[in-house]
Symmetry: none
Subunit: 221 residues, 4 copies
DNA sequence: TATGAATGAGGCTTCATTCAT
DNA sequence: AATGAATGAAGCCTCATTCAT
């Protein structure tokens, strides 16, 4: 039915509207200090309406995590699918940029996502949502690992287990985010995430890239 | 007065008793789901007693973070002071091990510590505690940077700004912790922090270590 | 919008409902022994609802004081505005009656109002409410003083600073209220506020009224 | 027994020490904001010790009220007993000064005393203390009334019921205290209790003093 | 007698959630 | 579907009071 379809789409639009508002509020105040009323106000809706679209606060929050994971997945899949067009050296750069965009997409939610871990929070989630989150997370890991698998196979990278490399790349990213964040707190200065991340990835790449054959002098070092 | 001394020690013991209980409860439930009553019960004390030793919930939580920072500092200072006895290659290894021990010391609090950052939480802290946290954090950064300064000066490391290297090392560490943690959640499996961390640091070191002089062919490879 | 208007009125009605309940509970138990739950029960509402209409306990209490001040002001303004219609001797009587009505309006809150003064309590008030209270208080003083200014100007009263007279009139009133109240406590008898107040004001008036002209020999002067 | 006697005196001294401290703390913070620990600190004792001398907080507070009443009584009795030495006009002045001294003795406690009235508070008092308070209050009223009885009897005062006059005198006093206090709050200025009280009592006396016989011109005035 | 650490009841307040409109 | 007033459970924290030393 066209009318059914339209309703469904309308419903989805409303969900997005709420999530956009929630993202802003969670980013500003954190999971706990943000109230459902804050979010309702930001979405220009009433508190009661939120519950027509999300079972409860935890599920609304988790949906946002899911959204980041989805975005991450899209970006990673895009890199994989255009792998052929990318020169060897560009792949890790593409990965890094994808990660940075994910961060830009929602810096605070990214950090908060790590706190989804409380088993108490997980208990409140609907099984469907929980499954989604797990699937997307695994998919992201696999996609990232694929990049390294290829690199290893075609001899660009020193042989390492690709899953481990994927993890380290991601760890590097999340770690830099946290590090910059905590430096900012301590120093009350602005942070320089992008630069730090560039250096970190340069080092990482240097560490895993197979050195050019000896007869081609490694370039005055 | 011996009696004064004993009282002071008794008081410190009680503080520790509460912190041990708090650590357990925070680890299990997280900062927000853990209630003061939970902690009191775990410590086999009444809620009111907690407030004789900690100004409020945030301060109790922060004190635990402080403990980790203190431990981290001790470990780092130890490395610095015994630098001469360590061979070149051992320094980063020592750093990594220190970080790993810090993780072992209190895995969950380490993760939670990254969330101390909410300015709302910081407002509730006593100035003294806040200063301690900041001082220890800065001291840790400086100590870590020192390791890299030395490495750069004696030509072991490719020239990079030592603070940046220190940051990346720490970022690598915290990132791996988080990564492993989230993998554990997703896979419901045990985590392999130590191995992952070993690989990560090996790559890191490879990336920043100056290659041996050309007359000693860097390994036909 | 008619609908907006109705909602506003509904809201005001609810506020009044709460204030009526609060007044009863505060009167019976005093500011400190009265709990928000007591008031909620008396108003047949839940505790949370009170906070939809009043910022906190102090503000609810102060709002009641404000109500008395408002009533006092209305009465005083009425006297001022109908001054011409009042014979000279009737003005102080009108003042006294106004004061007595204020007492009748809410005896216990009148007494409690004197305790609004704790600066700790004042700190919790919203700036708007604080301003209202101050403005109304000042307005009351000025209105009362006006009565005496006029009396002095037309030669009815012995020349005294009108503000001082206003203060003394009001002091007489509040003092009699307290005195009667404490007598009631001590004697466990009913109090006789009205009679005592009549006598007090008669004496007061006698003390400030200029004696009739000498040709009617009330006594040399 | 001399030793029993000494112990009793020692005990009384300790009681006084506590009351002095309590008076200071109650004056500064009011009945509710003052904590037993505050008082203990001020008295340089431990909280537990307070309970060796006073049944509970209410009783400690009430004892202070009792102390003011005792002081008031002493002053009034002194006036009564030296009545003969006082000229007619000096009696009310002496009364006023006594009242002022009572105020000076402990301004805030005087105001707080009016709040002893909460029946909840009274319930907590020991029967003995309650009786003392009642007796002293009645005694004060009678003593004050005596001054007016005499004034009326010897023709100085216009005939009024002396109890009423006593009440009004006292009301005037307490009213002025409150009035000045509330003016101070509103205007954030210093108060001028003594001056206001002088004027009030002058008016009061003028109002009740029998005018001199007409043949003796009241003094050109 | 004095201590002061410990208690634990209870107050104020918040806020996720519901439900009558 | 949307509202938003109302709910009431639950959390943090205070402080009068007790009791083992």
């Amino acid at each position: 039915m066209g009318i059914q379809e339209r309703k469904k789409r309308e419903r989805e639009r409303r969900r997005q509207q709420i999530m956009v508002a929630a993202k802003r509020v969670f980013s500003e105040k954190g999971l706990n200090k943000a109230t459902m009323e804050d979010i309702a106000k930001e979405a220009e809706l009433s508190p009661g309406t939120l519950y027509l679209y999300f079972k409860n606060k935890d599920e609304l929050f988790s949906s946002l995590s899911l959204r980041i994971l989805q975005y991450l997945n899209i970006r990673l899949e895009h890199i994989i699918s255009s792998e052929r067009e990318l020169k060897e050296g560009e792949r890790i750069t593409a990965l890094k940029e994808a990660m940075y965009d994910v961060y830009e997409f929602d810096p605070v939610m990214l950090i908060n996502m790590f706190h989804l871990q409380s088993s108490e929070t997980l208990k409140n989630l609907s099984p469907q949502l929980l499954k989604n989150i797990r699937d997307l997370s695994q998919s992201s890991i696999r996609a990232t690992a694929k990049l390294f698998t290829d690199g290893i196979e075609n001899g660009t990278f020193v042989d390492e287990h690709p899953i481990a490399l994927a993890g380290i790349a991601w760890a590097l990213f999340s770690g830099v985010v946290l590090w910059e964040e905590s430096k900012r707190i301590i120093d009350e200065e602005k942070n320089y995430l992008k630069e730090t991340l560039d250096v970190a990835f340069e080092i990482f790449e240097r560490g895993i890239r197979r050195r050019p054959p000896p007869d081609e002098p490694s370039g005055g070092e």
